[in-house]
Protein backbone atom coordinates (compact mmCIF):
# COMPACT_ATOMS: atom_id res chain seq x y z
CA UNK A 1 0.00 0.00 0.00
CA UNK A 2 1.18 3.52 -0.75
CA UNK A 3 2.20 5.71 2.16
CA UNK A 4 -0.98 6.82 3.84
CA UNK A 5 -1.98 10.48 3.93
CA UNK A 6 -3.04 10.11 7.50
CA UNK A 7 -2.06 7.47 10.01
CA UNK A 8 -3.74 7.46 13.40
CA UNK A 9 -3.02 4.95 16.13
CA UNK A 10 -4.86 4.69 19.43
CA UNK A 11 -6.42 8.12 19.31
CA UNK A 12 -7.97 9.06 22.61
CA UNK A 13 -9.88 12.26 23.32
CA UNK A 14 -10.83 13.18 26.83
CA UNK A 15 -12.94 16.30 27.39
CA UNK A 16 -11.86 18.10 30.50
CA UNK A 17 -14.14 17.27 33.41
CA UNK A 18 -15.80 14.31 31.70
CA UNK A 19 -15.71 11.02 33.58
CA UNK A 20 -14.73 8.96 30.54
CA UNK A 21 -12.88 9.70 27.34
CA UNK A 22 -15.22 10.64 24.48
CA UNK A 23 -13.11 8.66 22.03
CA UNK A 24 -10.65 5.87 22.69
CA UNK A 25 -8.56 3.33 20.83
CA UNK A 26 -9.38 4.72 17.40
CA UNK A 27 -6.85 3.64 14.81
CA UNK A 28 -6.99 3.96 11.05
CA UNK A 29 -4.86 4.79 8.09
CA UNK A 30 -6.17 6.79 5.18
CA UNK A 31 -4.79 6.74 1.67
CA UNK A 32 -6.27 8.42 -1.37
CA UNK A 33 -9.65 7.01 -0.58
CA UNK A 34 -12.98 7.92 0.86
CA UNK A 35 -13.44 6.79 4.41
CA UNK A 36 -16.82 6.97 6.13
CA UNK A 37 -17.24 7.25 9.87
CA UNK A 38 -20.73 6.26 10.96
CA UNK A 39 -22.38 6.22 14.34
CA UNK A 40 -25.26 7.71 16.28
CA UNK A 41 -25.10 11.08 17.97
CA UNK A 42 -22.72 11.01 20.87
CA UNK A 43 -20.67 8.16 19.47
CA UNK A 44 -17.65 10.40 19.05
CA UNK A 45 -17.51 10.56 15.27
CA UNK A 46 -17.38 14.36 15.03
CA UNK A 47 -14.92 14.47 17.91
CA UNK A 48 -12.52 12.35 15.85
CA UNK A 49 -12.75 14.83 12.97
CA UNK A 50 -12.17 17.79 15.20
CA UNK A 51 -9.33 16.12 17.05
CA UNK A 52 -7.49 15.62 13.75
CA UNK A 53 -7.59 19.37 13.14
CA UNK A 54 -6.88 20.03 16.81
CA UNK A 55 -10.04 22.08 17.13
CA UNK A 56 -10.79 20.92 20.65
CA UNK A 57 -9.27 23.38 23.10
CA UNK A 58 -11.10 21.82 26.06
CA UNK A 59 -10.01 18.28 25.42
CA UNK A 60 -6.92 16.25 25.99
CA UNK A 61 -5.87 14.51 22.78
CA UNK A 62 -3.42 11.65 22.99
CA UNK A 63 -2.35 9.02 20.50
CA UNK A 64 0.59 6.74 19.97
CA UNK A 65 0.77 8.04 16.43
CA UNK A 66 -0.93 10.85 14.55
CA UNK A 67 0.99 11.34 11.35
CA UNK A 68 -0.32 13.58 8.58
CA UNK A 69 2.06 13.47 5.64
CA UNK A 70 5.36 14.65 7.05
CA UNK A 71 3.76 16.34 10.02
CA UNK A 72 3.33 14.78 13.40
CA UNK A 73 0.00 16.33 14.40
CA UNK A 74 0.55 15.69 18.08
CA UNK A 75 3.78 17.63 18.17
CA UNK A 76 2.53 20.38 15.84
CA UNK A 77 2.40 23.83 17.38
CA UNK A 78 -0.62 26.07 16.99
CA UNK A 79 1.34 28.06 14.42
CA UNK A 80 1.93 24.96 12.34
CA UNK A 81 -1.72 23.99 12.74
CA UNK A 82 -2.80 27.38 11.38
CA UNK A 83 -0.84 26.57 8.29
CA UNK A 84 -2.37 23.11 8.01
CA UNK A 85 -6.00 24.05 8.59
CA UNK A 86 -7.74 25.07 5.39
CA UNK A 87 -4.56 24.56 3.44
CA UNK A 88 -3.49 20.94 3.70
CA UNK A 89 -6.41 19.64 5.68
CA UNK A 90 -9.83 21.21 5.69
CA UNK A 91 -13.26 20.57 7.08
CA UNK A 92 -16.74 20.97 5.62
CA UNK A 93 -19.35 21.45 8.31
CA UNK A 94 -22.97 20.46 8.41
CA UNK A 95 -24.92 23.63 7.87
CA UNK A 96 -23.76 26.42 5.55
CA UNK A 97 -26.14 28.77 7.37
CA UNK A 98 -23.90 28.62 10.39
CA UNK A 99 -20.51 28.12 8.83
CA UNK A 100 -20.53 31.15 6.53
CA UNK A 101 -20.11 34.61 7.98
CA UNK A 102 -23.56 36.22 7.55
CA UNK A 103 -22.33 39.77 7.08
CA UNK A 104 -19.71 39.17 4.41
CA UNK A 105 -20.20 38.35 0.75
CA UNK A 106 -19.78 34.68 -0.12
CA UNK A 107 -17.08 35.27 -2.69
CA UNK A 108 -14.94 37.38 -0.38
CA UNK A 109 -14.97 34.59 2.14
CA UNK A 110 -13.70 32.14 -0.44
CA UNK A 111 -11.01 34.54 -1.63
CA UNK A 112 -9.98 35.11 1.97
CA UNK A 113 -9.22 31.42 2.34
CA UNK A 114 -6.84 31.68 -0.60
CA UNK A 115 -5.23 34.91 0.59
CA UNK A 116 -4.55 33.38 3.98
CA UNK A 117 -2.45 30.61 2.57
CA UNK A 118 -0.87 32.01 -0.57
CA UNK A 119 0.97 35.22 -1.25
CA UNK A 120 -0.94 36.79 -4.07
CA UNK A 121 -2.87 39.87 -5.07
CA UNK A 122 -6.51 40.29 -4.14
CA UNK A 123 -7.37 40.17 -7.77
CA UNK A 124 -5.69 36.83 -8.26
CA UNK A 125 -7.50 35.48 -5.19
CA UNK A 126 -10.78 36.64 -6.65
CA UNK A 127 -10.04 34.92 -9.92
CA UNK A 128 -9.21 31.70 -8.11
CA UNK A 129 -12.43 31.97 -6.10
CA UNK A 130 -14.48 32.52 -9.26
CA UNK A 131 -12.85 29.55 -10.95
CA UNK A 132 -13.57 27.41 -7.93
CA UNK A 133 -17.22 28.52 -7.88
CA UNK A 134 -17.41 27.35 -11.44
CA UNK A 135 -15.81 24.05 -10.49
CA UNK A 136 -18.62 23.42 -7.99
CA UNK A 137 -21.06 23.96 -10.84
CA UNK A 138 -22.46 27.33 -9.91
CA UNK A 139 -23.83 28.69 -13.14
CA UNK A 140 -23.16 32.37 -12.64
CA UNK A 141 -20.07 32.67 -10.41
CA UNK A 142 -19.92 36.47 -10.61
CA UNK A 143 -23.47 36.82 -9.35
CA UNK A 144 -22.96 34.39 -6.48
CA UNK A 145 -19.61 35.95 -5.59
CA UNK A 146 -21.36 39.16 -4.62
CA UNK A 147 -24.20 37.57 -2.73
CA UNK A 148 -24.54 37.38 1.03
CA UNK A 149 -25.02 33.95 2.62
CA UNK A 150 -28.72 34.60 3.32
CA UNK A 151 -29.27 35.21 -0.38
CA UNK A 152 -28.21 31.74 -1.46
CA UNK A 153 -30.04 28.44 -1.01
CA UNK A 154 -28.81 25.68 1.27
CA UNK A 155 -27.46 23.59 -1.58
CA UNK A 156 -25.62 26.55 -3.04
CA UNK A 157 -24.29 27.50 0.40
CA UNK A 158 -22.85 24.05 0.82
CA UNK A 159 -21.28 24.25 -2.62
CA UNK A 160 -19.69 27.54 -1.60
CA UNK A 161 -18.29 25.80 1.47
CA UNK A 162 -16.91 23.03 -0.70
CA UNK A 163 -15.34 25.62 -3.01
CA UNK A 164 -13.74 27.34 -0.04
CA UNK A 165 -12.39 24.14 1.42
CA UNK A 166 -11.00 22.71 -1.80
CA UNK A 167 -9.52 25.98 -3.04
CA UNK A 168 -6.12 25.41 -1.49
CA UNK A 169 -6.07 21.85 -2.84
CA UNK A 170 -5.74 20.14 0.51
CA UNK A 171 -4.58 16.55 0.80
CA UNK A 172 -7.33 15.67 3.20
CA UNK A 173 -10.90 16.88 3.53
CA UNK A 174 -13.03 16.05 6.54
CA UNK A 175 -16.71 16.39 5.72
CA UNK A 176 -18.80 16.42 8.89
CA UNK A 177 -22.38 15.60 7.88
CA UNK A 178 -22.00 17.67 4.70
CA UNK A 179 -25.52 17.12 3.44
CA UNK A 180 -27.77 16.46 6.43
CA UNK A 181 -29.17 19.97 6.26
CA UNK A 182 -30.09 19.64 2.57
CA UNK A 183 -33.12 18.31 0.71
CA UNK A 184 -32.89 14.89 -0.85
CA UNK A 185 -33.06 16.31 -4.37
CA UNK A 186 -30.12 18.65 -3.73
CA UNK A 187 -28.21 16.22 -1.56
CA UNK A 188 -27.13 13.92 -4.36
CA UNK A 189 -26.04 16.83 -6.52
CA UNK A 190 -23.80 18.27 -3.81
CA UNK A 191 -22.35 14.87 -2.96
CA UNK A 192 -21.61 14.25 -6.62
CA UNK A 193 -19.71 17.52 -6.88
CA UNK A 194 -17.71 16.79 -3.76
CA UNK A 195 -17.04 13.27 -4.92
CA UNK A 196 -15.88 14.34 -8.40
CA UNK A 197 -13.51 16.97 -7.04
CA UNK A 198 -12.07 14.65 -4.45
CA UNK A 199 -11.39 11.96 -7.04
CA UNK A 200 -10.07 14.34 -9.65
CA UNK A 201 -7.59 15.97 -7.31
CA UNK A 202 -6.67 12.78 -5.46
CA UNK A 203 -7.75 14.15 -2.11
CA UNK A 204 -8.31 11.87 0.87
CA UNK A 205 -11.84 12.21 2.22
CA UNK A 206 -13.23 11.43 5.64
CA UNK A 207 -17.01 11.52 5.54
CA UNK A 208 -18.61 11.72 8.96
CA UNK A 209 -22.27 10.81 8.86
CA UNK A 210 -25.09 9.08 10.65
CA UNK A 211 -26.56 8.07 7.33
CA UNK A 212 -25.72 4.52 6.28
CA UNK A 213 -27.09 5.01 2.78
CA UNK A 214 -24.81 7.92 2.19
CA UNK A 215 -21.60 6.20 3.22
CA UNK A 216 -22.58 3.09 1.36
CA UNK A 217 -22.81 5.08 -1.86
CA UNK A 218 -20.01 7.57 -1.41
CA UNK A 219 -17.25 5.85 0.50
CA UNK A 220 -14.79 3.05 -0.08
CA UNK A 221 -14.40 2.02 3.51
CA UNK A 222 -16.53 2.56 6.62
CA UNK A 223 -15.64 2.74 10.29
CA UNK A 224 -18.57 2.13 12.59
CA UNK A 225 -18.33 3.87 15.92
CA UNK A 226 -20.23 3.13 19.07
CA UNK A 227 -19.67 4.76 22.45
CA UNK A 228 -16.37 6.32 21.44
CA UNK A 229 -14.79 3.22 19.94
CA UNK A 230 -14.55 1.78 16.47
CA UNK A 231 -16.54 -1.43 16.65
CA UNK A 232 -16.17 -2.50 13.07
CA UNK A 233 -14.37 -1.59 9.84
CA UNK A 234 -15.92 -2.67 6.57
CA UNK A 235 -15.67 -2.09 2.87
CA UNK A 236 -18.66 0.04 1.94
CA UNK A 237 -19.85 -2.52 -0.59
CA UNK A 238 -19.90 -5.19 2.09
CA UNK A 239 -21.96 -3.21 4.55
CA UNK A 240 -24.74 -5.76 4.27
CA UNK A 241 -22.40 -8.42 5.52
CA UNK A 242 -21.67 -6.56 8.74
CA UNK A 243 -20.99 -8.82 11.68
CA UNK A 244 -21.28 -6.53 14.65
CA UNK A 245 -24.76 -6.56 16.19
CA UNK A 246 -24.76 -2.78 16.44
CA UNK A 247 -24.09 -2.32 12.72
CA UNK A 248 -26.69 -4.93 11.89
CA UNK A 249 -29.14 -3.24 14.22
CA UNK A 250 -28.57 0.13 12.54
CA UNK A 251 -29.10 -1.35 9.10
CA UNK A 252 -32.31 -3.06 10.16
CA UNK A 253 -33.71 0.02 11.91
CA UNK A 254 -33.73 2.01 8.69
CA UNK A 255 -37.13 2.24 7.04
CA UNK A 256 -36.97 1.26 3.38
CA UNK A 257 -39.04 2.36 0.46
CA UNK A 258 -41.26 -0.59 -0.40
CA UNK A 259 -40.71 -2.14 3.02
CA UNK A 260 -43.31 -4.41 4.59
CA UNK A 261 -44.34 -1.80 7.20
CA UNK A 262 -43.92 -4.20 10.04
CA UNK A 263 -42.65 -2.51 13.19
CA UNK A 264 -38.98 -1.71 12.68
CA UNK A 265 -36.48 -3.73 14.65
CA UNK A 266 -35.05 -1.55 17.40
CA UNK A 267 -31.63 -1.75 18.96
CA UNK A 268 -31.31 -3.83 22.05
CA UNK A 269 -28.21 -2.19 23.42
CA UNK A 270 -25.72 -4.37 25.23
CA UNK A 271 -22.77 -3.33 27.33
CA UNK A 272 -20.38 -5.63 25.50
CA UNK A 273 -20.97 -3.65 22.28
CA UNK A 274 -18.51 -1.03 23.33
CA UNK A 275 -15.80 -3.61 22.90
CA UNK A 276 -14.36 -4.08 19.43
CA UNK A 277 -15.16 -7.36 17.77
CA UNK A 278 -12.71 -10.22 17.84
CA UNK A 279 -11.33 -10.26 14.36
CA UNK A 280 -11.40 -13.76 13.02
CA UNK A 281 -8.31 -14.72 11.10
Amino acid sequence: METPILDVQDLRVHYRGAPQPAVQDVSFALGRERLGIVGESGSGKSTVGRALLKLLPTAEITATRMQFGETDLQAATEKQMLDIRGNRMSMILQDPKFSLNPIRRCGEQIAEAYLTHFRCSKREAKERALAMLEAVQIRDPHLVYDRYPHEVSGGMGQRIMIAMMLLAEPRLVIADEPTSALDVTVRLEVLKILDDLVREKGIGLIMISHDLNLVRNFCDRVLIMYAGRVVETLNAAELDRAQHPYTRGLLAAQPRIGGNRQPLPVLDRRPEWSQPMETSA
Binding site: E40, V184, A253, Q254, P255, L267
Partner: protein, 252 residues
Protein backbone atom coordinates in the same frame (compact mmCIF):
# COMPACT_ATOMS: atom_id res chain seq x y z
CA UNK B 1 -61.42 9.60 14.69
CA UNK B 2 -62.22 12.51 12.41
CA UNK B 3 -61.33 13.44 8.84
CA UNK B 4 -59.44 16.62 8.01
CA UNK B 5 -60.38 18.72 5.02
CA UNK B 6 -58.34 21.62 3.71
CA UNK B 7 -60.03 23.71 1.04
CA UNK B 8 -58.50 26.61 -0.88
CA UNK B 9 -56.08 27.42 1.89
CA UNK B 10 -54.04 30.47 1.01
CA UNK B 11 -51.63 32.39 3.11
CA UNK B 12 -49.11 35.18 2.67
CA UNK B 13 -46.53 36.69 4.93
CA UNK B 14 -46.01 40.44 4.85
CA UNK B 15 -48.21 43.25 3.64
CA UNK B 16 -48.81 45.14 0.42
CA UNK B 17 -46.17 44.83 -2.24
CA UNK B 18 -43.70 43.01 -0.02
CA UNK B 19 -46.18 40.24 0.63
CA UNK B 20 -44.91 36.77 -0.09
CA UNK B 21 -47.51 34.25 -1.05
CA UNK B 22 -46.48 31.13 0.84
CA UNK B 23 -49.51 29.03 0.07
CA UNK B 24 -51.35 30.07 -3.09
CA UNK B 25 -54.28 27.68 -3.02
CA UNK B 26 -54.00 24.37 -1.26
CA UNK B 27 -56.73 21.75 -1.04
CA UNK B 28 -56.58 18.17 0.11
CA UNK B 29 -58.51 15.75 2.25
CA UNK B 30 -57.38 13.32 4.89
CA UNK B 31 -59.71 10.48 5.73
CA UNK B 32 -60.52 9.55 9.30
CA UNK B 33 -57.84 7.29 10.72
CA UNK B 34 -55.54 7.81 7.76
CA UNK B 35 -51.87 8.71 7.89
CA UNK B 36 -51.35 11.43 5.32
CA UNK B 37 -47.87 12.66 4.43
CA UNK B 38 -46.68 16.04 3.23
CA UNK B 39 -43.36 15.95 1.44
CA UNK B 40 -41.39 18.53 -0.48
CA UNK B 41 -38.26 20.63 -0.41
CA UNK B 42 -37.51 23.01 2.42
CA UNK B 43 -39.48 26.20 2.10
CA UNK B 44 -42.27 24.53 0.16
CA UNK B 45 -44.82 25.28 2.88
CA UNK B 46 -45.29 21.86 4.46
CA UNK B 47 -44.89 23.05 8.02
CA UNK B 48 -46.89 26.19 7.31
CA UNK B 49 -49.89 24.03 6.48
CA UNK B 50 -49.63 22.32 9.86
CA UNK B 51 -49.35 25.67 11.60
CA UNK B 52 -52.48 26.85 9.76
CA UNK B 53 -54.40 23.71 10.68
CA UNK B 54 -53.36 24.13 14.31
CA UNK B 55 -54.34 27.82 14.15
CA UNK B 56 -50.87 28.74 15.33
CA UNK B 57 -51.02 30.93 12.25
CA UNK B 58 -54.39 32.55 11.79
CA UNK B 59 -53.97 35.00 8.92
CA UNK B 60 -55.00 32.53 6.26
CA UNK B 61 -58.07 32.34 4.11
CA UNK B 62 -59.93 29.30 2.94
CA UNK B 63 -61.45 26.60 5.06
CA UNK B 64 -59.91 23.92 7.23
CA UNK B 65 -62.27 21.54 8.94
CA UNK B 66 -61.91 18.62 11.29
CA UNK B 67 -64.88 16.27 11.27
CA UNK B 68 -66.88 18.83 9.31
CA UNK B 69 -66.29 21.60 11.81
CA UNK B 70 -64.14 24.55 10.83
CA UNK B 71 -61.06 24.99 13.02
CA UNK B 72 -61.69 28.71 12.97
CA UNK B 73 -65.07 28.33 14.62
CA UNK B 74 -63.74 26.12 17.38
CA UNK B 75 -62.94 27.63 20.74
CA UNK B 76 -59.37 27.18 21.90
CA UNK B 77 -60.49 24.51 24.35
CA UNK B 78 -62.37 22.63 21.70
CA UNK B 79 -59.53 22.91 19.23
CA UNK B 80 -57.04 21.46 21.70
CA UNK B 81 -59.31 18.47 22.26
CA UNK B 82 -59.49 17.92 18.51
CA UNK B 83 -55.90 18.35 17.41
CA UNK B 84 -52.45 18.31 18.90
CA UNK B 85 -49.08 18.84 17.37
CA UNK B 86 -45.68 17.17 17.79
CA UNK B 87 -42.75 19.30 16.72
CA UNK B 88 -39.50 18.47 15.03
CA UNK B 89 -36.96 19.15 17.68
CA UNK B 90 -37.63 17.64 21.09
CA UNK B 91 -34.75 19.71 22.44
CA UNK B 92 -36.65 22.88 21.63
CA UNK B 93 -40.25 21.94 22.25
CA UNK B 94 -40.09 21.04 25.94
CA UNK B 95 -39.70 23.72 28.55
CA UNK B 96 -36.24 23.21 30.06
CA UNK B 97 -37.31 24.20 33.56
CA UNK B 98 -40.52 22.23 33.68
CA UNK B 99 -40.58 18.61 34.79
CA UNK B 100 -42.44 16.08 32.68
CA UNK B 101 -45.14 16.13 35.35
CA UNK B 102 -45.64 19.88 34.96
CA UNK B 103 -45.76 19.62 31.18
CA UNK B 104 -48.33 16.82 31.24
CA UNK B 105 -50.48 18.12 34.09
CA UNK B 106 -51.02 21.59 32.65
CA UNK B 107 -53.46 20.56 29.90
CA UNK B 108 -55.38 18.35 32.34
CA UNK B 109 -55.72 21.23 34.76
CA UNK B 110 -56.76 23.71 32.09
CA UNK B 111 -59.36 21.38 30.69
CA UNK B 112 -60.53 20.38 34.19
CA UNK B 113 -60.41 16.70 33.34
CA UNK B 114 -59.69 15.22 36.76
CA UNK B 115 -57.94 11.89 37.51
CA UNK B 116 -54.72 13.72 36.90
CA UNK B 117 -52.38 11.00 38.18
CA UNK B 118 -54.14 8.23 36.28
CA UNK B 119 -54.16 10.16 33.04
CA UNK B 120 -50.50 11.03 33.31
CA UNK B 121 -49.58 7.45 34.15
CA UNK B 122 -51.63 6.24 31.20
CA UNK B 123 -49.98 8.67 28.79
CA UNK B 124 -46.51 7.67 29.98
CA UNK B 125 -47.35 3.99 29.60
CA UNK B 126 -48.78 4.63 26.13
CA UNK B 127 -45.50 6.11 24.93
CA UNK B 128 -43.45 3.40 26.60
CA UNK B 129 -41.84 5.41 29.37
CA UNK B 130 -41.75 4.40 33.05
CA UNK B 131 -44.12 6.41 35.24
CA UNK B 132 -41.20 7.38 37.46
CA UNK B 133 -39.93 9.58 34.60
CA UNK B 134 -42.69 12.06 35.46
CA UNK B 135 -40.35 13.70 37.90
CA UNK B 136 -37.54 14.18 35.43
CA UNK B 137 -36.56 17.35 33.64
CA UNK B 138 -35.86 17.45 29.88
CA UNK B 139 -32.09 17.56 30.37
CA UNK B 140 -32.32 14.24 32.20
CA UNK B 141 -33.81 12.57 29.11
CA UNK B 142 -32.28 11.42 25.84
CA UNK B 143 -33.53 12.78 22.51
CA UNK B 144 -35.79 9.79 21.91
CA UNK B 145 -37.22 9.97 25.42
CA UNK B 146 -37.91 13.67 24.97
CA UNK B 147 -39.79 13.02 21.77
CA UNK B 148 -41.81 10.40 23.64
CA UNK B 149 -42.69 13.01 26.26
CA UNK B 150 -43.70 15.42 23.49
CA UNK B 151 -45.96 12.71 22.08
CA UNK B 152 -47.35 11.95 25.56
CA UNK B 153 -48.17 15.63 25.93
CA UNK B 154 -50.02 15.52 22.62
CA UNK B 155 -51.95 12.40 23.68
CA UNK B 156 -53.03 13.57 27.07
CA UNK B 157 -56.09 15.48 25.85
CA UNK B 158 -57.16 12.51 23.72
CA UNK B 159 -57.29 14.45 20.44
CA UNK B 160 -58.63 13.09 17.16
CA UNK B 161 -55.93 14.44 14.89
CA UNK B 162 -52.19 14.51 15.45
CA UNK B 163 -50.08 16.94 13.43
CA UNK B 164 -46.56 15.60 13.17
CA UNK B 165 -43.92 18.03 11.97
CA UNK B 166 -40.85 15.96 11.05
CA UNK B 167 -41.19 13.99 14.28
CA UNK B 168 -38.02 11.97 13.74
CA UNK B 169 -35.66 14.08 11.66
CA UNK B 170 -33.70 15.29 14.69
CA UNK B 171 -33.20 11.72 15.88
CA UNK B 172 -30.77 8.91 15.08
CA UNK B 173 -31.85 6.05 12.85
CA UNK B 174 -32.03 3.67 15.81
CA UNK B 175 -34.18 6.08 17.83
CA UNK B 176 -36.23 7.01 14.77
CA UNK B 177 -37.24 3.36 14.48
CA UNK B 178 -38.53 3.41 18.07
CA UNK B 179 -40.58 6.56 17.53
CA UNK B 180 -42.02 5.38 14.20
CA UNK B 181 -43.04 2.09 15.82
CA UNK B 182 -44.64 4.00 18.66
CA UNK B 183 -46.60 6.26 16.29
CA UNK B 184 -47.76 3.26 14.29
CA UNK B 185 -48.88 1.39 17.39
CA UNK B 186 -50.74 4.42 18.75
CA UNK B 187 -52.60 4.86 15.50
CA UNK B 188 -53.67 1.22 15.54
CA UNK B 189 -54.74 1.37 19.17
CA UNK B 190 -56.41 4.76 19.25
CA UNK B 191 -57.32 5.36 15.63
CA UNK B 192 -55.73 8.78 15.30
CA UNK B 193 -55.71 10.68 12.06
CA UNK B 194 -52.12 11.70 11.30
CA UNK B 195 -51.00 14.59 9.16
CA UNK B 196 -47.28 14.10 8.90
CA UNK B 197 -44.62 16.33 7.40
CA UNK B 198 -41.40 14.66 6.38
CA UNK B 199 -38.63 15.11 3.87
CA UNK B 200 -37.71 11.45 3.98
CA UNK B 201 -39.68 9.37 1.50
CA UNK B 202 -38.61 6.15 3.20
CA UNK B 203 -40.30 7.32 6.40
CA UNK B 204 -43.37 8.43 4.47
CA UNK B 205 -43.52 5.10 2.68
CA UNK B 206 -43.25 3.30 6.00
CA UNK B 207 -45.95 5.34 7.73
CA UNK B 208 -48.38 6.90 5.29
CA UNK B 209 -51.13 5.60 3.06
CA UNK B 210 -51.15 8.64 0.83
CA UNK B 211 -48.97 11.70 0.55
CA UNK B 212 -48.96 15.09 -1.12
CA UNK B 213 -45.87 16.35 -2.89
CA UNK B 214 -45.41 20.07 -2.41
CA UNK B 215 -43.38 22.62 -4.29
CA UNK B 216 -43.41 26.37 -3.74
CA UNK B 217 -46.55 26.20 -1.63
CA UNK B 218 -48.56 24.18 -4.09
CA UNK B 219 -49.65 20.61 -3.79
CA UNK B 220 -48.37 19.29 -7.09
CA UNK B 221 -49.78 15.84 -6.71
CA UNK B 222 -51.43 13.55 -4.19
CA UNK B 223 -50.04 10.06 -4.52
CA UNK B 224 -50.69 6.69 -2.98
CA UNK B 225 -47.88 4.86 -1.28
CA UNK B 226 -47.51 2.46 -4.20
CA UNK B 227 -46.68 5.35 -6.55
CA UNK B 228 -43.16 5.51 -5.15
CA UNK B 229 -42.07 2.17 -6.51
CA UNK B 230 -44.77 2.00 -9.17
CA UNK B 231 -43.51 5.14 -10.88
CA UNK B 232 -47.00 6.50 -11.47
CA UNK B 233 -46.20 10.06 -10.45
CA UNK B 234 -46.84 12.49 -13.28
CA UNK B 235 -45.69 15.88 -12.05
CA UNK B 236 -42.02 16.51 -12.90
CA UNK B 237 -41.08 17.60 -9.39
CA UNK B 238 -42.77 14.60 -7.81
CA UNK B 239 -40.90 12.33 -10.20
CA UNK B 240 -37.65 14.09 -9.48
CA UNK B 241 -38.15 13.73 -5.74
CA UNK B 242 -39.01 10.06 -6.00
CA UNK B 243 -36.12 9.36 -8.31
CA UNK B 244 -33.67 11.18 -6.06
CA UNK B 245 -34.93 9.29 -3.02
CA UNK B 246 -34.68 5.97 -4.78
CA UNK B 247 -31.22 6.76 -6.08
CA UNK B 248 -30.26 7.73 -2.59
CA UNK B 249 -31.48 4.43 -1.25
CA UNK B 250 -29.63 2.76 -4.06
CA UNK B 251 -32.55 0.41 -4.65
CA UNK B 252 -31.71 -1.97 -1.86
Amino acid sequence: MKPVKVENLSMSFGMGEAAVKVLPDVSFEVEAGECFGLVGESGSGKSTILLCVAMLLSAWSGRISIGGQSVRDMSVMERCRNLQMVFQDPYGSLHPRQSVRTALSEPIRIHKLGDMEDRMAQAMTDVGLPVSFLDRFPHQLSGGQRQRVAIARALILEPHVLLLDEPTSALDVSVQAEILNLLQRLREEKGFTYLMVSHDLAVVDHMCDRFAVMQRGEVTEVLGRDAILGGTATHPYARQLIEASLAYENAM
